[in-house]
Each structure stands twice: as C-alpha cells, then as structure tokens.
C-alpha cells in the first residue's frame, strides 16, 4: 500500500458569527497519489468548506478548525506565513466554480499565470510567460499566443475555465482541488472540460478532489465517491460500489432522483424534506428526519461507522438494529 497523498482525520469546521454553524463534523478522508475522489453532496453540505479548509482559505477570525490534515507529508494545520503560501498553489491548488469571478478582471491571463509561476519557481517574468503560454497550449486554448494577452472578460466561459485550469496546474501541484468547476458551464462545454481534466490528471499524475452535486459528473471523472450530508461524510466507496451497491438511504435517494429512464409527465423521485440547520453539533443521524427507513434508534444516538469492505465506509445504523432497544456495535453486512 502506498503512502496516502491526503489524509484528513476528524476534521471539524465551525463558523462563528451571529449564530454558530457546524459546517463539517468529524470528517475522515484519504486519497492515494493520482487518485480522483469526488465529494458529492447538496448545497450547504460542507463540501466546499472541506476544500477551502484543505487550503486554509477560510477566514481565520470567524472559523474554528480542528483535526489533522496531511497533504504529501505536510502538516497543513501548522503552516504559517511563507510556508503556507508555498503550499498553496505549489503542493495543492484549486479551481473555482465561477472562473469569471475567480480571475482578476484587470490582469491578463498570461500575467495571472506567470505571477503564480514566478512566485513558486522563482523564475523571471519572461520565463513565467513562457510557462503560461505552454500551459495554455496544454489546456488546448486556440491561438494561445493571442489569448495570453487577453483579459478574462474577453474570453468565453469554457475558455476562462480552461485558463483557470492552466493557472492551477502551472506549478505542477500534487493535489488539485476542484470546486464545482463545471457547474457554471453549459452542458457541451462541461463534458469538454471534464475530459480535459481527466486527461491532464493522467498526464500530470496528480490527485484530484472534485466537489459536485451532479452525480453524472461524479461518475464521469472519479475513481472513488464520498457522499456528504449536513457536514458529515455518510458513505465512501469506489464509483462502481456507490452506483451499484449504495448502502446509505440518502445515497440511494440521490441515485433515484435522476432524470434517466423517466417517463415524461410522471412525478420525479425526490427526497422529502429539507437538510437540517447546522446550529448544533449533531447528536443523532442528521438524515433520520427525512429517512424513509429510519427507526427510533436513528434519532437517539449517533450512527456507527460500518466498513462493509476494504475502503468502504457507511455511517448508518444497521437495518436490524434500527428498532432495537439498544444499538449493537457489531457491523452488519447489509446496512
């Protein structure tokens, strides 16, 4: 077994403000080098917060983070000042949901890529521009020499996201964090960008943590899928396992709520109810109020972590125990 590229142990993120929000609760996650993992979840489930925590981009004053995060042997939690800046963009970089908002509007694409390269590799500006040109070729932007001198507003959405990818990969990071990078793009461009990402991932051999709410996208790109609900990872497994053999009722609900093989005019499958408020740290299964299979045990205590197979993880009360007087600690094969 190879050393893990990313290892997150018991990550907790809380935001203080007018009210406290428990955004991420006890998250455990690991990623092998060169592996693509998708965090799947709905809005507010804490998936983007997890990514930002990995780059320490959350506002420090209003955020309390605890737990341990290691990326490529670097203890992310202890990084400060220059070392933190070296880690960001150097070891781990990120592509954002809306490239129009994530690129500085008054700098050219070339300047923005070269700036990152010069910062990390300590090379001259003109050498940085050469790298930028090279990267634009790699993400297959047509007439890259001209695009290098373009401002973000002069490019199309798909082109901007390619430029964003070029920027993120310009310093050859070991880990790429992708925060819904295709959500703001239209369907045909989405596929192109996904294919490009997968290709570049193979070429550069980096690990990717991909965040999305779109199961189709998740299946397209990932080796493994982690499903997140209300700040907790509720199920982890290979893409095949999740699609074929989902154990958690929430994951099964998500898989049922798609548009494939649906007769027009019939009502779509949906998970009833809405996600819970995150004011307090959960003391029971957060999904229990919406769960069609829940029993009294589910709302009484935190569900156990089941490991039905190697690398598989399901946080759910085993079916047989849901109506029992006390929770059994024994992991059941059929969750």
């Amino acid at each position: 077994m190879t050393e893990a590229l990313v290892d997150i142990r018991n990550l907790n993120v809380r935001f203080h403000g007018a009210r406290t929000v428990h955004a991420v609760n006890g998250l455990d996650l690991s990623l092998k080098p060169g592996e693509v993992l998708t965090i799947l979840g709905e809005s507010g489930s804490g998936k983007s917060v997890t990514l930002k925590a990995l780059l320490r981009l959350l506002p420090e004053k209003r955020t309390a983070i605890s737990g341990a995060m290691t990326v490529d042997g670097i203890d992310v939690m202890s990084l400060k000042g220059r070392a933190l800046a070296d880690y960001r963009g150097g070891t781990t970089s990120m592509i954002f949901q809306e490239p129009m908002l994530a690129l500085d509007p008054v700098y050219t694409i070339g300047e923005q890529i070269a700036e990152a390269v010069c910062r990390h590799k300590g090379i001259s500006r003109s050498a940085g521009m050469d790298v930028a040109l090279d990267m634009l070729k790699k993400v297959r932007i047509p007439s890259p020499e001209r695009r290098l001198k373009n401002y973000p507003h002069e490019m199309s959405g798909g082109m901007r996201q390619r430029a964003m990818i070029a920027l993120a990969l310009s310093c050859r990071p070991k880990l790429l964090l992708a925060d819904e990078p295709t959500t703001a793009l239209d369907a045909t461009v989405q596929i192109q960008v996904l294919l490009l990402l997968r290709e570049l991932q193979k070429e550069f051999g980096m690990g990717i943590i991909f965040v999305t709410h779109d199961i189709g996208v998740a299946v397209e790109i990932s080796d493994r899928i982690a499903v997140m609900y209300a700040g907790t990872l509720i199920e982890t497994g290979t893409t095949r396992e999740i699609i074929r053999d989902a154990r958690h009722p929430y994951t099964r609900g998500l898989l049922a709520a798609n548009l494939h093989d649906v007769t027009p005019g019939t009502r779509l499958e949906a998970i009833p109810g809405a996600p819970p408020a995150l004011d307090a740290r959960p003391t029971a299964c957060s999904f229990a109020p919406r769960c069609p299979e829940a029993g009294p045990v589910c709302s009484a205590a935190l569900p156990p972590v089941l490991t039905p197979g190697a690398g598989r993880r399901v946080v759910c009360v085993p079916k047989a125990d849901r109506f029992a007087g006390a929770t059994s600690a024994a992991p059941a094969v059929n969750a």
Partner: protein, 317 residues
C-alpha cells in the same frame, strides 16, 4: 482606443454648449435688474434706456445669448459693471488664485483620503476602520467655514503661528512660491481639503472592502500569493473608480469655495463670485460661472481619457 478618445472629445462640444446656455439663462431668470446697482437712483427713463443699450440689455434674449457666446469664444467675456475692467482678466486672476489653493488642498486631501480609505477598507470593522471612518464623517459633516474659523482661532489668534486672511503679506494678491506666501495658504488649504478627503476616504473604503470580498482575492491567496502581492491587485482594481471620484472632487476644488474664500479673504473665484452676486454684476457673474462650469467639463474629460489606460474593461469602443 483612438476612436474612444475622439468620441469623448467630440461629446464635450454639446455639453459645453448646454452649459453656456444654462449659465446665460440662470442669471436672467434671477429677479432684479442688473443695472440698478450702477445707475443713479434719480436716473430718467431716457438715461436708463441709454444705459441698457450700452450694455446690450435692450436686445431680445436669444440675440443677447448669441452675441455673448460669440464674444466668449473669442475670449471676450464683456466688461464688469462694477469695476469697468474686462471680465476675462478678472476671472483669470481669480482662477489663478483658486487653482493654487486647489492644488494645495488636493495635495493634502487626496493622498490622505486614498490612504485612509485603503487602510479602513483593508481592516474593515477593526479599530483602524472605526477611527478613520470617524475622521471621514467629521470631515464631510463639519461645515467647512466653521472649521476654517476654528482653525483661525487656534492657529492665528491663540498661537499666532499663521496669518488669518489674505493671499500674501500686505494684502498682496500676487502669488509667489516662498514661505511668506505659503504661510497664508496653509489654513485655507486644510479647510478646503476636509470635505474631499472625507468623501474620497469613504468611497475608497467601500471600494476596497468590496474588491476584497471578491472570489478572485481568495483565488489569489489560493495560488500562493502573500498579502503584499494581493494588495497590488487590489490597488489596480480600485484605481479606475478612485480616479473618477478624485476627478469629480477636483472639479469642486477648482471651482473654489465661496464660503472658505470669504472666511479667509482669498482672492479666488469663489470670492469673486460672491462679490459679483452682491453687486449684481451680471457679465462678471456669467463669465465666472461659465469658466467654472467648463473646468468641470474638462476635468471629467481628462478622467474619462485616463480611465481606459488603467481599466481594460472600459477599453472597448
């Protein structure tokens, strides 16, 4: 780019024409006869008519306007009724003095306003922000003639460090670049700078705070930039808007301030304007307002021309 510049230049012509029409009309809309101030109380009807014809007030208004505009284009703004001197000379001397005052007020107000605004926006809701916002609100809200009088009481009357009025020793109105003259400009310049400083501070603060809340700032940190690199990005993003606010404020400063120039007896356009109003000196009033209005048009034009050099998004024609 060139087309943009030409468009901007051409668009100034109708604006300037409209401005001159309004200047001309405003004075005629105001009640009262301009000649009452200079005419003897016991003047006969014939004498009054003669006087009116001499100043051209007997012709219909549109004709008066065309004649006035035609003369103005050749640099002749008529003759002051009160002093009998050419209006153009009077206005130009006053403009010179107001420009000097505006220059010093700008040198104090704008750098300070931009610096304060930047600090407050960067450390929004912190102690620095609260102190600076307090200063900015005071600068905008305190009536500046009152501030001027307070400064005079402190620095001229009590401490005796600086003169309280005039533009030079011995009532001289000719400016010179020496300490003897500089002493006279310090208090009026500080007083005049207070309002633009406050406005620029508040605008730049909101601007910087807004820019800092953008996703791209997070993205800049995400690619490994240090705070000092990010500041450079914020400055370049804030520059176009900050520039246009400074431009508008500069327009106000160039116009001189009736109140401040009156408090300090500064022989600038504001002082001239208030005299012209009280003496019902119609040609002088029209000439002064026209020159001031054109100042505004020209500063806005300069700002418009400078903006695309900084902000690529305006560069499209």
């Amino acid at each position: 780019m060139l087309i943009y510049f030409l468009q901007r230049l051409v668009s100034v012509i109708p604006v300037a024409l409209g401005v001159s029409l309004i200047c001309f009309m405003l004075v005629h809309i105001a009640p009262g006869d301009p000649l009452t101030a200079v005419m003897p109380v016991d003047a006969t009807a014939e004498q009054q008519a003669e006087m009116r014809a001499a100043y051209g007030f007997d012709k219909p208004l549109p004709v008066q306007f065309v004649l006035w505009l035609g003369n103005a284009l050749t640099g002749d703004l008529g003759t002051s009724i009160a002093s009998g001197r050419p209006v153009a000379d009077e206005v130009m001397r006053a403009v010179g003095n107001s420009l000097i005052l505006a220059f010093f007020a700008s040198a104090i107000g704008f750098p300070l306003g931009i610096l304060f605004g930047f600090l407050a926006g960067t450390y929004k809701n912190g102690v620095v922000d609260k102190v600076i916002t307090g200063i900015a609100i005071a600068g905008v809200s305190v009536p500046n003639y009152w501030l001027g009088m307070v400064l005079v009481v402190i620095f001229s009357v009590s401490l005796g460090w600086l003169p309280s009025m005039g533009a030079g020793p011995g009532g001289s109105t000719e400016w010179a670049w020496d300490w003897e003259h500089l002493r006279f400009i310090i208090l009026p310049a500080i007083t005049l700078a207070a309002v633009p400083m406050g406005i620029v501070t508040r605008t730049v603060r909101a601007l910087v705070a807004d820019i800092r809340s953008n996703d791209f700032v997070t993205a800049l940190y995400a690619k490994g930039l240090m705070s000092r690199h990010v500041v450079a990005h914020v400055i370049r993003n804030a520059a176009p808007t900050a520039l246009s606010v400074v431009g508008i404020q500069l327009g106000y400063l160039l116009g001189g301030s009736i109140l401040i120039e009156t408090v300090f007896n500064w022989p600038g356009t504001g002082f001239l304007l208030s005299n012209a109003i009280f003496q019902r000196d119609l040609p002088l009033l029209q000439g002064t307002i026209l020159v001031l209005a054109l100042f505004f048009v020209v500063t806005n034009l300069l700002v418009d021309l400078a903006q695309p050099l900084i902000d690529p998004r305006i560069r499209r024609t």
